[in-house]
């Protein structure tokens, strides 16, 4: 670019980019300056941005992710779900023995790691009884494995000791390390390493022993060398001894070769375990279809089950279907939430508009004084205000007492103003009213009073002057107030909970219930995601119809 560095270049005379004082092309130098400005602007807002990302966006994203996440089934029952994929669920027959064997292995490992009850609670959301089924099975699997353990140990006490197992299964290098390792030394335990020859001739035993070793060394932090193996290892050992590779056992020459051969000879005559029957003994539900259908339906890593549940549907053999009528609740709640939020918004407009008008048209000093009255409730705790409404509205409360005293209402037919929709609407209108008045007031303040006077002097009646001149100018304030009130009320929770009874509660009350009480966070997340989508949808519609530019929070 030799021609562009020539400082005597006169811009425009030669074709070429315009240059800045330092000789770089103007475009680039401008871009650089702008980029620097942008960076410093970004740096300025960085603390806020990071704060919002960490405390607001990330938790919400994480929570929304839970509405489809379903890894627990596959993670807890990896072997079972893998085999179950080939199971023909429409045959009407429960799976065969191999699945039950995989189930035994999965549940055995899960109960050692205390994960089986967690899976039980998860599946209980879909199938009643899963919770206790898994709890019971966790207690029962030990007995299944003991059958082989006892036989091996009765045959030769050699198989009782963890040391002997480690001598056979561990590699020579690892054995040397672990024998010199002391827990008190504070050093990390040398991680278990399988003897190569054993991994070939006893593949299942080796695989499960590796899991046992990882668990013992990393989660239990106890010395693997001294630890007696799980019952599960004995059943895997039996499978290896009687399996396809059994012939090669005699080729083994390492430690314990004699015992191994002896075990192989004896295992042929061992009493075997019928895994299917054993699980049937633990709980006959294992021999019925529902639990298997449920495990299969919920074995993928992601599920739409929570979302289906959130719209009163459920999975079935023929795809999603509506729940039975006596279990449908969420559609009602969503509609009710929208309906009541609309009513609350409208009553806020009705009550707030005159107040805003008075505030805007009074002398500043009086207006400020009245403003304090509007803001006063803001400074009072939400709970106090709601509880105060309880005292006001209940049947033996202030309002009813006054009405009875005035003779408007008979003493035995006092009005039900609380624990129903009326209560929620009254209390929430009061609580959200400032959010309507403030934008109305600030917009109305900017409407010059001379416009009204001009309209009147041109012959308009009071009503026409208001409706044709004043009102259109105050619409942006109504828009802003309505958006605030509507979106706030759609997610309200405490007030409906306290004064809403059964007919005045919102969807947010159910979300709160699933978050803090039933612990079904997936369902809560799905409900929350739907609510979020509804709000965004309404906002979009509002923008299309009214135009978001027409919303003003102030002059």
């Amino acid at each position: 670019m030799s021609d562009t560095v020539d400082a005597t270049n006169i811009p425009g005379e030669k074709s070429g980019p315009m240059l800045a004082a330092d000789g770089t092309p103007l475009k680039r130098s401008l871009r650089r300056a702008l980029r620097r400005q942008k960076m410093s602007a970004l740096l300025l807002i960085a603390p806020l941005l990071i704060f919002i990302l960490i405390t607001f966006i990330a938790p919400i994203a994480d929570m929304l992710f839970r509405s489809v996440e379903n890894e627990i089934v596959q993670d807890t029952l990896p072997r079972t779900t893998a085999i179950l994929e080939t199971w023909d669920s429409e045959s009407g027959n429960v799976p065969d023995t191999p699945v039950f064997k995989a189930l035994y292995q999965d549940i055995f490992i899960a109960q050692e790691r205390k994960l089986h009850t967690r899976l039980g609670s998860r599946l209980n959301y879909e199938l009643t009884g899963a919770s206790s089924l898994f709890r019971k099975s966790g207690r029962g699997v030990g007995d299944i494995g003991e059958v082989y353990q006892d036989q091996f140990e009765d045959m030769n006490a050699f198989w009782k000791k963890g040391e002997n197992w480690n001598d056979i299964l561990g590699s020579d290098a690892w054995l040397a390390e672990i024998k010199s390792w002391k827990k008190a030394s504070g050093q990390a335990q040398p991680p278990f390493e399988i003897r190569a020859q054993i991994a070939e001739i006893l593949p299942q035993t080796a695989a499960f022993y590796q899991i046992f070793a990882d668990f013992t060394q990393n989660e239990k932090n106890s010395n693997l060398y001294k630890k007696d193996p799980w019952e599960l290892i004995y059943s895997a050992f039996y499978d290896d001894l009687t399996g396809a590779n059994a012939a090669r056992i005699d080729t083994y020459t390492g430690p314990g070769a004699a015992e191994l051969s002896e075990a192989k000879a004896a295992a042929a005559n061992f009493e075997t375990v019928d895994y299917k029957a054993a699980f049937g003994d633990i709980d006959k539900d294992w021999l019925k279809m529902p639990i298997w259908d449920t495990i299969r339906a919920y074995s993928p890593r992601f599920t739409n089950g929570y979302f289906l549940n959130a719209v009163d549907m459920q999975k079935s053999e023929n795809g999603p279907e509506l729940r039975p009528e006596n279990q449908r609740i969420y559609a009602t709640l969503f509609l009710r939430t929208l309906f009541m939020s609309t009513v609350i918004t409208l009553s806020c407009i009705l009550l707030g508009y005159p107040v805003g008008w008075i505030l805007a048209n009074l002398p500043a000093r009086t207006a400020n004084l009245l403003m304090i009255l509007v803001l006063l409730p803001f400074w009072t705790s939400l709970l106090v205000r709601t509880s105060a409404w309880k005292v006001m509205l209940q049947q033996q409360g202030v309002v009813n007492d006054t009405l009875v005293w005035l003779g408007i209402v008979a003493d035995d037919s006092r009005l039900a103003l609380i624990n129903n929709q009326t209560g929620t609407i009254i209390a929430m209108t009061h609580i959200l009213l400032p959010f309507m008045i403030l934008p109305l007031y600030s917009v109305m303040q900017t409407i010059p009073p001379s416009y009204l006077r001009a309209a009147k002097s041109l012959g308009a009646t009071n009503w026409t002057a208001f409706w044709r001149v004043y009102f259109p100018q105050s619409v942006p304030g109504i828009g802003a107030g309505s958006i605030l009130v509507f979106i706030l009320s759609i997610g309200y929770y405490i007030t409906p909970e306290i004064v809403g009874g059964t007919t005045g509660t919102f969807i947010s009350n159910r979300i709160a219930y699933h978050i803090s009480s039933s612990l079904n966070w997936g369902l809560a997340a799905a409900l929350g995601a739907i609510l979020l989508a509804v709000v965004l949808g309404l906002y979009y519609a509002y923008d299309k119809i009214v135009g978001i530019d027409n919303v003003k929070l102030g002059g």
Binding site: P59, L115, N124, Q396, Y493, S508, I511, L519, A524
Partner: protein, 371 residues
């Protein structure tokens, strides 16, 4: 939205916890955070357990956190964040079972962790059947039962649980808890189901329909409560004729506030409240908490608590030591749910049943409520 506020609160809590813990690890294995229900109940625990313990162990401090009604959710959030800020949590037995199932509570060995009775009976026998979960350390037996306004029931006060369903004899509103547990059982009992068959019937869809149909007969006259303090307030205001709540709350209305309210003990439902130790505590804090629990659940301490609140001690050996109320000076034994006169007809909360059926029946119950 409450949804996001919960999240925000959770993340704020976790954030705050990180700093607190960073502090604690330096030199303060001598600090404990105990979680309880607040109010009179927490005060009774403070007086009977914590203050005497702090007196015996100078240099140790204990802080109360009134979060028990959200303990399950918060413990799960703490566990997922890998940062447990609580040392000991007071929960009802059903929650303890759930926390244990979720792996959020530590499994205990009762005989190793808890003190034996004065006569040497090991803790596992002294607590007996009340050790309903491997993680649960029982403290008190409480009951959910009814109270009624003595001035609103005429000359024939209610004597039987089924009087709650009798709108003709006792017109007026009733307060019931906004959840299926207990209400479904009472409804079936009053629909003629024998006591020992209630849970068998309730396990069937027809039985659930039956219970809801019975509740339907009084639905219009029910105010549903969700906080234990609601019913006492409603009774004191004369808003309801009768209502269910925890017996200790009714004791307070009757004896401490002297309201015209009386107890209807019939078919009271026994339930348990106790401690759990969160899973995954660091060793120094765990050691402190174990020391405290051994002290706070011994025979004398459990008996002491009943001086302040009318809940029965969970140890067999504590029962004979129940004395007088610390301030009122009245005998506490007749106010205990376990007193033979009160316990003539009792109902046992079936934990296993509700662990299985809660999700299902609750969905039906809420749908019924919303109709």
């Amino acid at each position: 939205m409450k949804f996001t506020t919960t999240l925000l609160a959770t993340s704020a809590l976790i954030g705050a916890g990180t700093f607190a813990l960073a502090d604690a690890h330096g030199n303060m294995a001598n600090e404990m955070t105990l979680v309880s229900w607040g109010g009179a109940y927490q005060a009774s625990q403070d007086k009977a357990y914590l203050q005497p313990y702090l007196k015996n162990n100078p240099g140790v401090t204990g802080v109360w956190d009134e979060s028990s009604n959200e303990a399950v959710a918060k413990l799960r959030a703490m566990n997922e964040a890998g940062n447990i800020t609580w040392d000991l949590v007071d929960v009802v037995a059903a929650d303890a079972i759930r926390l244990c199932d979720e792996g959020l509570a530590m499994e205990i060995d009762a005989d190793e962790l808890l003190a034996a009775a004065p006569d040497g009976t090991p803790a596992s026998e002294d607590f007996g059947d009340l050790l309903v979960s491997d993680c649960f350390i029982p403290q008190i037996v409480y009951s959910t039962t009814f109270g009624y306004r003595t001035d609103m029931v005429g000359d024939t006060p209610p004597r039987k649980i089924c009087d709650v369903f009798d709108l003709e004899a006792y017109p007026g509103k009733r307060a019931l808890e906004k959840r299926p547990i207990n209400n479904m059982e009472w409804a079936l009992l009053c629909d003629g189901v024998p006591k020992d068959e209630v849970y068998d019937v309730l396990a069937t869809p027809e039985g659930q329909e039956k219970a809801l149909a019975k509740l339907d007969t009084i639905k219009d006259s029910v105010i549903w409560w969700s906080a234990g303090a609601d019913t006492p307030q409603l009774l004191a205001d004369g808003e309801v004729v009768m209502g269910s709540t925890y017996n200790g709350r009714l004791f307070s209305v009757i004896e401490e506030q002297k309201q015209p309210v009386a107890m209807l003990w019939d078919a009271q439902v026994f339930d348990l409240d106790g401690w759990i130790i969160p899973a995954g505590l660091p060793a120094d804090r765990l050691a402190r908490v174990k020391d405290f629990v051994k002290f706070a659940t011994d025979t004398q301490r459990l008996a002491d608590q009943s001086q302040y609140i009318s809940y029965g001690p969970a140890r067999l050996s504590s029962a004979p030591m129940v004395g007088k109320h610390a301030d009122l000076g009245i005998d506490m034994a007749p106010h205990m749910p376990t007193d033979p006169k009160n316990a003539a007809n009792t109902f046992l909360y079936n934990y296993e049943f509700w662990a299985d059926y809660r999700d299902d029946i609750d969905a039906k119950f809420q749908a019924w409520l919303a109709q």
